[in-house]
């Protein structure tokens, strides 16, 4: 645990309004490197808004976000991009780029005009690690939904490949698996776990509570813009929380040979 707290991603008293509507109401929490943290909550609870504030996309909020003790300010676009990657739910890319070109975009914060040999090496390594080398020269637009999302995942990995001299790396995932099949969902979350073990702060917005129980180390539950639970998965996901967030009756089942419980809802 030594030094982990020093690198943490901290959200302090963040509130955000659109017009008169309060989207986030004095949200405070923190995310540690080594953990897969997940943000859960019903639609409209402010999950994605919180992630956008953390990632420096939305700016007019009150409170503060700090990366490893340094408070985030609006002008940090380019320095932050070297150690913080964001994977959105889906990308609107509609031009015929190759997979390699899309992954190389992850290296954009690191070079000025032309990629260096090192940037090319990083892209090759990432493609190799994700078993995507065979897709390398394929047109992005001809890929399946899963392959497209995996390409963007590879881009995010290429972006935060190097451990910075100071501080650590941050990976923010906004409903990364919402439109993926079962196989891809597990593949993505396994990779997220692997990355967290490499001392990266991983924060994901997710809807599937069973996947959260299986893969998260830490869960923050948001409801009407407020944090209503912030703890280990099995402490957060309880029948009473499910009832108050979604108005659904549920049961938590424990089985002998599984290290995590299973949530069954609407029973």
């Amino acid at each position: 645990m030594n030094g982990r707290e020093g690198f943490m991603l901290e959200v302090q008293n963040v509130s955000f309004r659109i017009g008169k509507r309060l989207i986030l109401d004095t949200v405070s929490t923190s995310f540690l490197p080594g953990n897969v943290s997940m943000i859960i909550g019903p639609n409209g609870s402010g999950k994605s808004t919180l992630l956008k504030i953390i990632s420096n996309e939305l700016k007019r909020y009150s409170g503060s976000i700090s990366y490893g003790g340094k408070i985030l300010t609006a002008g940090q676009h380019s320095s932050l991009a070297k150690r913080r990657a964001v994977l959105a739910q889906h990308s609107e890319l509609s031009f015929p780029l190759t997979v390699e070109e899309v992954v190389m975009m992850g290296r954009y914060p690191h070079f000025k005009v032309q990629p260096t040999a090192h940037d090319q090496l990083v892209v090759n390594q990432v493609l190799e690690e994700l078993n995507m080398t065979r897709l390398r020269f394929q047109n992005y637009l001809t890929l399946s939904g899963g392959e497209k999302q995996k390409t963007h995942f590879a881009r995010a990995l290429a972006q935060i490949r190097e451990v910075p001299v100071e501080g650590c790396r941050y990976l923010l995932l906004d409903e990364p698996i919402a439109s993926l099949d079962l196989n891809y969902q597990h593949e993505f979350l396994r990779m997220a776990r692997l990355l967290a073990s490499d001392n990266i702060v991983v924060v994901a917005v997710i809807h599937d509570l069973n996947l959260a129980l299986q893969y998260a180390d830490h869960i923050v539950a948001l409801h009407h813009g407020k944090v209503i639970a912030d703890n280990k998965p099995q402490q957060v996901i309880t029948p009473s929380l499910i009832d108050s967030m979604y108005g659904l009756k549920s049961r938590i089942l424990h089985t002998d040979n599984l290290p995590f419980p299973i949530l069954v809802t609407n029973v």
Binding site: L93, S94, F95, P96, L97, T98, E101, M105, Y108, V113
Partner: protein, 351 residues
């Protein structure tokens, strides 16, 4: 360099089209005359003499005209590539989004209304104020189209086309009005502003358009990385460390400068900026660095070829070049739209 061979082919193509175009016209110029004239222009004293009239035709009319074609073709095509990246839509070109029509209006305004005012004041001021006015009105039109068709960082293609039609109509009617009230017999006709021509080419316009276009293309190349990132959407470009608002403003300025300077000299020439980046996309790449360099070369080739056609088809008479570019360009545009439609069925080639 994976695009090296394509650049080489385009470069050779450009040299060939320039050579062919220099020769062809109402009067043909032979290669021997070209070489001797160029040698003389370089300060050499070739042993053989050539006809003075042929030399003058080549040096004062044909050569500047062909070079102007290369510069304007390159500028308009690079502009098309930049606007397609900025609007994240492959059917955008300066003619569609008001840049050309606005620039033409700005230029016509100075030409007709400002002529008496400024040129008598000082010829230098008069020469400068024409491209400046074209730039201001070109930028204004483009900004109107961009602002009205984008909401929350996304550009709606349907709104963009409709706003483009409206802005183009206003600018064109303004230009039409100006050329109608123009008393000056030298004032260029409505045909000039709407269809363009290279017949007024001279060395000062070559220097002016060439220098501005070159600087703008070099500047655009520096933005190619950021423009690629913008293909992902503004949000994600921001995550890659790019400030989308700053980038957009810079691209609009560079782009308008190129289009305005070209339009103020040769009028509105449509479809070139649309087709050239698309022909390059047939190489299955949307890398903006490739598109910018490739557009500059291919745009030069096509504009030179189109101008040559406009001179030889009805020789010794001359067609406005816009007739040629629209005649060739519009069918290609339809073909692109057809491809786009079938692409949507296959899962969105252009989406």
């Amino acid at each position: 360099m994976k695009f090296g061979s394509i650049y080489l082919c385009l470069g050779i193509g450009l040299v060939i089209s320039v050579l062919l175009s220099i020769r062809a016209g109402a009067v043909d110029v032979s290669y021997r005359e070209i070489i001797i004239s160029l040698a003389k222009a370089c300060g050499l004293h070739p042993a053989t003499e050539i006809d003075r009239i042929q030399e003058g035709l080549f040096m004062q009319i044909r050569l500047p005209r062909v070079l102007l074609c290369v510069a304007v073709g390159a500028g308009l095509s690079v502009s098309g590539a930049l606007m397609q990246a900025l609007f994240r839509n492959p059917i955008v070109e300066p003619g569609l989004i008001g840049t050309s029509a606005g620039s033409a209006f700005g230029a016509a305004l100075v030409f007709v209304a400002g002529r008496t005012l400024f040129i008598e004041l000082s010829p230098v001021l008069g020469a400068l104020i024409l491209p400046c006015s074209a730039f201001v009105f070109g930028l204004l039109s483009t900004l109107i189209v961009y602002r009205l068709s984008s909401a929350a960082g996304k550009v709606s293609a349907a709104t963009m086309i409709l706003v483009g039609i409206a802005v183009n109509a206003v600018a064109a009617s303004g230009t039409g009005f100006l050329s109608y009230i123009a008393r000056d017999p030298q004032a260029r006709s409505i045909t000039f502003w709407s269809l363009g021509t290279f017949s007024g080419a001279d060395w000062p316009s070559v220097y002016l358009v060439g220098a501005v276009t070159l600087v703008c293309i070099l500047a655009a190349l520096r933005f190619s990385k950021s423009l690629n990132a913008l293909l992902l959407g503004e949000e994600e470009a921001g995550y890659l460390g790019i400030d989308p608002d700053k980038l957009k403003m810079r691209i609009l300025l560079v782009n308008t400068a190129m289009v305005a300077i070209a339009t103020s000299v040769v009028g509105v020439i449509g479809f070139v900026g649309l087709i050239v980046p698309h022909l390059l996309r047939l190489f299955k790449s949307a890398d903006n660095r490739f598109l910018i360099i490739g557009s500059a070369l291919l745009g030069g080739i096509l504009m030179t070829a189109a101008d040559m056609l406009s001179r030889v088809l009805l020789a010794p008479a001359e067609l406005p070049i816009g007739i040629v570019t629209a005649l060739v360009g519009a069918p290609v545009f339809l073909w692109i739209l057809g491809r786009q439609k079938s692409g949507e069925r296959k899962g969105g080639f252009y989406a």
